[in-house]
């Protein structure tokens, strides 16, 4: 028990009248003494206090139950995916193309795996430098008001529903052109940018002011300080932020459903190709809408691979974060 006073009831609940130590004159008070606490008695709560402690225990039990419920849901989802997905996994599943027709057994998801990798890599290549530069602007250059405005813009961008981002990129890059992996990367970059920028900003704020002041005192210019002191110090945290953003982006479906063709059935690494790139989230989504058990089996397998990647990336970034000196 962390509550040091949980077992001292007299102090709050049953004070003697006028604070008199009651039991010292039992003979004088006579029957009145019955109402007064006996200081030599055991320190157990009674009456009102017992009810209060009961309520407190109940509340704690409810909170514990809520936390366990959340963990249980996570466990059930992961178990469902793992138990159904693992039975589908094989070398062929990872390396073959999906079957040409609906309702056929077997086949693999190689195009979706490669496509997701290409789309994510390209999105990261766009979002990471912009995100880091934005964070640098917020911490190193911007005044109070510009920083606020940019931060608000980032938070709002983070709050834009991802399906709207997808529709936006569709209107911008696909209408009048063609679906492409690049359009998907562009949409994911918009989703990932605020994540990377905000998390990087947090890390940069943790770089000790003393380091910057030391560089200033040596007459080092700002950009050399950034390159030689600030960024290297924050490297671990920036990497963590990026990995988390990648994990988030890898699972995003809504921005991609308009941008990648369901007809992309063969392995392609060309993000500018005319077909669009297959990718795992959209593949799962498409299969989940067709009521077909072989399709469902492939979708479970794909979900297993995606979930494993995302959870491992999360765990990895946490481990990285713990090791890096600037972690919280």
């Amino acid at each position: 028990m962390n509550d040091p006073f949980g077992s001292s009831p007299e102090a709050t609940d049953r004070p003697g009248p006028g604070g008199q130590p009651a039991a010292e004159e039992p003979d004088v008070l006579g029957p009145l003494a019955m109402d007064l606490p006996d200081p030599s008695g055991p320190l157990t709560p009674s009456g009102h206090l017992r009810r209060r402690q009961l309520i407190s225990r109940l509340a704690e039990a409810t909170q514990t139950a809520a936390a366990l419920l959340a963990v249980a849901v996570l466990g059930i989802v992961v178990y469902s995916v793992a138990s159904r997905g693992a039975s589908v996994l094989s070398i062929g599943f990872l390396t073959k193309d999906p079957p040409q027709f609906v309702g056929v057994r077997g086949g693999g998801i190689a195009p979706a795996i490669v496509g997701t990798a290409v789309i994510i890599a390209l999105a990261t290549a766009v979002a990471m430098p912009i995100g880091i530069l934005t964070a640098l602007y917020l911490t190193e250059f911007a005044g109070r008001w510009p920083a606020r405005a940019i931060r608000l813009a980032l938070d709002l961008l983070n709050g834009v529903p991802t399906i709207v981002v997808g529709l936006f990129v569709f209107g911008l890059l696909v209408v009048g052109h063609h679906q492409s992996g690049f359009a998907g990367s562009f949409a994911l970059a918009i989703v990932m940018l605020p994540l990377i920028a905000r998390a990087t900003q947090e890390v940069l704020l943790l770089v000790p002011a003393g380091l910057r002041e030391a560089a200033d005192a040596l007459g080092v210019s700002r950009w050399r300080t950034v390159r030689g002191v600030v960024l290297p110090t924050a490297r671990g945290g920036i990497l963590t932020a990026t990995v988390l953003a990648v994990a988030r982006g890898a699972g995003e479906t809504a921005p991609l459903i308009f941008l990648s063709s369901i007809f992309a059935n063969t392995v392609s690494v060309n993000p500018f190709g005319h077909q669009g790139l297959a990718n795992i989230p959209v593949y799962i989504f498409t299969l989940s809408e067709e009521a077909n058990r072989y399709g469902f089996a492939r979708a479970w397998g794909a979900a297993f691979i995606l979930l494993a990647f995302i959870l491992l990336a999360n765990l990895g970034s946490r481990a990285l974060n713990r090791r890096s000196t600037l972690s919280r």
Partner: protein
Amino acid sequence: MSASTKPAGALPGNTRSRVRSADRIGDVVLHGLCMLAALLAVLAIAAIAYKVIDGASASISRFGLGFLVHSKWQPNFGILGAGVLVYGTAVTSLIALLLSVPLGISIALYLSMVAPLRVRSVIGPLVEMLAAIPSVILGFWGILVFGPFLQRRLEPFLHSVLGFLPIFGATPTTGTGVFNASLILTIMVVPIIASISRDLFLTVPQELKDGATALGATRWEVLRGVVLPSSASGVAAAAFLGLGRALGEAIAVTQVIGAGSAIHASLFQTGDTLASRIAEEYAGAVSKLQIASLFYLAFILLVIGLLANIAAQLIARRFDVGRVAAR
């Protein structure tokens, strides 16, 4: 850009001043690059808003604000109204919020006050991992695992016990529907509210809690009387962020809500939301007007999503909620 108006360094001539002018240029370039990058975020917001309004203009001029309440969606006849979708979005998000606010706060209290430190460091990350599950996987699970469970167990139970309430009135049939969608949204929103609230509760000064304890308050009374009141605004902001997430979720909802086209009193029947209608119909759009109407839906979604976020920012001035939301 303002930096470029600074004097351009000392006269060149010796090595030192050459280094210095290189430094000046480096500073200006870095400043400029950073500013450009930062402006891209603003530009992105503006471009999204412009493109969505632009795409929706045909539908906006045709249907006006009546679009929001008109309940018929018949693309083949050029009759399009979002009434059913607005209703479905409101109901699913509201139920998700009603369930996830108490749950999220409870989890946050457990993680910040009740649990021993070692347990915290295990359960905290696990709760955050719940937020990392991709919505498409959660939706797929909702169809094949959770839906049948609801259909066979939970929905018949609720129907038999609380069937006199209209919301549990219909006989459960398929397991997909508004109820399933609301619960899936709850799963997605709980970790958001929980992790923001936990960070908030940890910022409540220890002296306040110790003071209350010293006055004889039980642990629940400390939570009730000190922790919750002093962080109420932040919790409200967290709820708004969760609401924004629930409103805008398209994929998982599409998968489990059953794409209904009418308003039903019972939660066990199908429905549809703004976001999921976009996801369903884009590929099969039959007319320009339908596409414009889908952009109109996106516009509504953008406006309410941004409003929820701005509300969160305004409520929680003291606490930077965006920091946790972007994690």
